[in-house]
Symmetry: C2
């Protein structure tokens, strides 16, 4: 088994002035200290609702010095330790962001934000809002009209309210609110706490004010083909559609498949800080942090000692819905900014979520009282085999050279109400990094009258409509390809015109164009447009081309909501495949810092509009990808994973295939067995070979 | 271990009139009988060069009756057993195709083909051509000019000649020829038979006539930036670039990873015929055949008893190169039509190529004498775990429901001279089929003068140019989605215009358009165009939509060679993402039946030009996919696998997620372990649970 080493560049000392690695996530005591200092800035009777207490990452200029010293083994400079705190005065709209110096033990800045600036939802609030919506007298009066069977349990899914720019009156999106969608558990099985309530949506939708924690109005949802609203009327109980295994006739013919690493895993995990981990695997080294909003963050990624990425993280995601009718026109969730990929992370279960030889990372975040909140097993790390890495057989000799494709996976799973996202960073031995997203969980549903259909959604169960929606993700890539100053270029392949040089019309060339100005850029498969992050100062010794990493991102339909819509204004990343901006310390979240009921103007599109020079600069690359989710029956009651990948692959960065030195794939190492006895004789011949090597043969064929 | 059952609907009897399942590949005795009958049609002194002896698949009209009877357990009709034979009179251009009735014991038809119709290359021929090129006096005279060190071994890679439509003289592509590219083994290591000769290309390129088996001319390759040809001159020996493991400093820190199935694999394999296999796995059933040209072919694919695909196969691939200069302008290989994915298949090695609990299939093809040629272990079958299949956690209870994503893989690997392709059909428990191609092996290289670069290729080693090229694959899908008459439709997502119904500009709809006429069709991500194969007569019982399977194929840059070029004329599939044609019995190969030095006009584009009605008909769907391979240093000496996938996924075909009944993922089943001792305490708490189920928790959080 791999040994966990505790190795830090600074000693860990408990207590107030704990020096931590500048990239180390806050410790429990730092979280407590931060909330104590914030509270002490207010009268003691003021109730503070803490939204997030996270590390205030140092300025990059400082950090670069620190990391350079760390890498070269020199004494590291002292960097002030700070936390960033977002909080409300509870039951008001008074949102604050503060920076606390933990080194000095004082609050450095404390700003009141707003108007129209709101923080994320949090777990305690959500649970409270559920209860408030259901206990409200007027809501209960509406529910009564449904004449539900006795004992029916009504469930409330509070949603972030969304934005439509309406400034006045009862429908104003100015104040922070929750739009609650109601469902019932199968009335014939009310005691089943995990009954799939999404199969039984109701048309009653209470709106709860986050300030007063009271229901401010009740929307009745349209359930026909148009805007018509019908009074709630006696509810027709449809069949259930359960996902829990007791409700299924399970398959009985699946045999176990175990992944075994008899000598342990090949990766090493150590601490660079109490809450921060170093990972070493197959020439890769990097740091992993974890915070409330982004979940996993990778820092200081090197391959074989060469710098590649300063910081890698999921920047945000946006899920806009296609139903234009009130209140659905506001449905466009930012699952990181509105909630948080860290705080939503599942506690991963050995053998259930992760297969093989697993190492878990845990984290500590905060609750709304400012107390530390343990997040056990929020990240799992393991290796996996992904088939053959490379192979060649010399047909003259029959000798095959083959290696397998071993990958390292860091995985986290978030539950955002109905949906799940499985988020993973993957590394392989060919110098490639992949970010993978799997969308699963349950469609967000709303009621629909029987016997009708609508062009903006799919009926997935009697009375249940799943509206079309887009999932658009933004991966933030802060590169340092062989050094801190990079550029983005794009290659295009163009046919040569016919000429004396190209008389047969077959020639084509590839040309490279640098991006000079910050902005949004798109893929174009008709010219094979491929974006690369390049260090133009470092040339490949073999062919003289600048070293680079190319971006393989799948194409996707950009946000369909029109440019004047709030959806478009707010999800600033959703209109281009790639954004390139010049680096600035506080520009981490492509949808803006505060996405909840935002108005736009604070995200990557706005930063790119500065038209900064991004050629051979300290730049940031934002890679967008996603799907237009047109629901199908097969997505209900839970959807099979839809898998999306973005890969970063070396181009003329190395001098040969970086995986050329992976040991050959052999039977003694891999220990495959025959599934069938009948072939045993035949393969007995294949394994002969004292050293276990089995790929030398005499036969020659094409 | 799974038991291999021999189960056929007809008895297997050795001898002349052996009844075989009509889809069963030819047996060794049928191959011998076919060649005997062909030879007996000629005078005994005529030397026959057999190119392929394969099953002549019965007409679909007959087969449908047979399969229907087979499925319903009734007596199956007798179908005449036939073989299809392609052969030359050796050392002539007299190409013949014949149909032999094995049932009647006679040659039914025997046609002389041509002009301009040539068959594939074969292994014996290739080995002979290598020798002929190197032993030719004039070739040796050119080689002498290189003044190679004593003992240097020169290697010849014979290539199919290609087409440029030149009809007369020495450069006519009318006759079948080979364009041989020459290389040397590292002169400092001449005895190493697996030295990577692609690192040392020469500029001497002999052309060998397949008829006379003599060198007919010698091309000198251009090595500069233009068409200039230079006399061969003293060769500068560059450093080697070896891929064999002895030449590497291998990594020493990779720990073993084994895949173990202690109760055996979940799939069952039986014979439906002496050479044909039935596969049953997780509600999937299908037949697998194997032949010289296509390699694996899947027939009669059902899921849970419902018909899906009549026939699935790789139809061909084309790899056109970007260098417009002679002779490179002719480089455009059809690796199936020019060579054959069956005959090129590797003998897969337990533990090297396939990990886990493996079942091998072997096949029998033919050699050029018409004798049976054993192909042991040409297909491997195994399960693999591909992460989580679906998951949902009810945040109120903390109960997680999760299943893993188990896949079945049928894999074959082909070596086509320098390149390898790993070809796999994959099935999962959510009713999805995926065809995966991994491109690996060695770039095709040509010499380039030092110190220069060209816009149509990449220098990957001193003196070595790897020219840009496209890999374009065509997957042939003969569907029977819930029945034999299908249509192809495409969905598009369009924004709704602003209106009273859509006042906020966020609405969008998805509309469906049927394809009525055969032709080529393309993806368009700006409208999320998604193609589906539909049975319009069968409606989903929940939402009334016609049952369908959608096609997920990645976009690619279509063939860059211009429409007047022979590349474009010949690779008829390479200009559209999708082709839809009406079914005809002899239309299997999208590039035409005879691709070697073809002229076009015999492939899918030509069939589609019939403008047949394809709506609710017996149709065939051709799915193209590929990459524009712009070589990078990392692709040399062997390229890391580039992975491409095409998936076919159910849309409103089932009534819910077809994987909802997969047993929950549990630790007792999966037996993961902790990689680190340090966390053991913590996770000890997670595994508590008498039944092994570990996903019930009390904590509630978002």
């Amino acid at each position: 088994m791999s040994v966990e080493q505790i190795a830090t560049s600074l000693p860990i000392i408990s207590g107030k002035s704990t020096p931590q690695h500048p990239l180390g996530p806050l410790t429990a005591s730092e979280i407590k200290e931060s909330s104590r200092l914030i509270k002490s800035a207010w009268p003691s009777d003021v109730n503070i609702q803490f939204k997030s207490i996270t590390l205030q990452e140092p300025q990059k200029a400082e950090l670069l010095h620190f990391l350079a010293a760390e890498h070269s083994g020199q004494a590291t400079p002292t960097i002030e330790r700070r936390s960033f705190v977002v909080y409300y005065l509870r039951n008001t709209d008074k949102l604050h962001e503060a920076v606390v110096s933990l080194s000095a033990g004082k609050v450095e800045s404390n700003l009141r934000l707003g108007p129209n600036v709101h923080s994320n939802a949090d777990g305690d609030e959500i649970i409270a809002v559920e209860r408030i919506a259901l206990e409200d007298e007027k809501v209960q009066a509406e529910i009564k009209k449904l004449q539900l069977p006795e004992g029916t349990v009504v469930i409330s899914d509070p949603w972030i309210y969304g934005s439509d720019g309406i400034n006045e009156g009862l429908f104003s999106d100015d104040k922070r609110m929750f739009q609650c969608f109601l469902y019932v558990r199968d009335p014939n099985n009310s005691s089943q706490a995990d009954s799939n309530h999404y199969a039984m949506p109701l048309s009653i939708s209470p709106v709860v004010s986050a300030e007063t924690m009271r229901v401010t109005r009740i929307d009745i949802l349209p359930t026909g083909i148009d805007n018509t609203i019908k009074e709630p009327s006696p509810y027709k109980v449809q069949p259930p559609n359960e996902y829990i295994h007791e409700a299924q006739e399970l398959r009985t013919d699946l045999k176990p498949l175990n992944v075994v690493q008899p000598e342990g895993a090949s990766f090493k995990v150590s601490n660079y800080s109490e809450q921060g981990h170093n990972i070493e695997w197959q020439k890769w080294t990097f740091k992993v942090g974890f915070n409330q909003r982004e979940g996993m963050v990778l820092y200081d990624v090197h391959y074989d000692g060469r710098p590649l990425f300063y910081r890698l993280s999921l920047s945000d995601m946006n899920i806009p819905y296609a139903d234009p009718r009130h209140p659905f026109h506001k449905k466009a969730a930012f699952d990181l900014g509105d909630a948080g990929a860290g705080i939503m992370a599942n506690n991963l279960q050995l053998g259930c979520d992760c297969l093989g030889s697993i190492h878990y990372l845990s984290a500590v975040l905060n609750d709304d009282k400012g107390e530390p909140l343990d997040m056990p097993n929020c990240v799992c790390i393991h290796e996996q085999d992904n088939g053959i890495g490379w192979k060649h057989t010399n047909y003259r000799t029959g000798r095959a050279a083959v290696v397998r494709n071993r990958e390292l996976v860091l995985q986290s799973i978030i539950t955002v109400s109905n949906y799940e996202y499985i988020l993973a960073f993957m590394f392989n031995q060919a110098g490639e990094v992949t970010y993978e997203v799997r969308a699963t969980g349950i469609l967000s549903t709303q009621p629909i009258d029987e016997g009708i259909s609508v062009p903006f959604g799919t009926v997935v169960h009697p009375g249940v409509l799943a509206v079309h929606h887009q999932h658009i993700f933004s991966l933030r890539v802060d590169p340092m390809i062989d050094g801190p100053l990079n550029r983005v270029v794009y290659d295009e392949a163009h046919a040569m015109p016919r000429s004396d040089f190209n008389p047969h019309g077959v020639g084509y060339t590839v040309s490279e164009t640098p991006i000079t100005t910050s902005g949004g850029y798109d893929l174009d498969y008709d010219v094979n447009r491929t974006f690369k992050i390049q260090n133009s100062a470092i040339k490949n010794p073999i062919n003289g081309k600048p070293v680079a990493y190319k971006i393989h991102a799948p194409p996707f339909q950009k946000m369909l909501a029109d440019p004047q819509s709030y959806h478009h204004k707010r999800a600033e990343f959703a209109d281009h495949n790639i954004y390139v901006t010049s680096y600035r310390d506080d520009e981490l979240y492509a949808g803006g810092k505060y996405t909840n009921q935002s108005r736009g103007g604070t995200g990557v599109r706005s930063w790119a509009d500065r038209k900064d020079d991004v050629q051979d600069q300290d730049i940031v690359v934002w890679v967008q990808f996603g799907i237009n989710h047109v629901p199908r029956i097969e997505d209900f009651p839970v959807m099979p994973c839809e898998i999306l990948k973005v890969s970063l692959k070396p181009v003329n960065f190395f001098e040969r295939n970086p995986a050329i030195d992976v040991p050959p794939s052999t039977q003694t190492f891999n220990k495959s067995v025959l599934a069938s006895v009948a072939h045993q004789q035949e393969v007995g011949e294949a394994v002969v070979g004292g050293d276990g090597e089995c790929c030398v043969r005499e036969s020659s064929k094409l």
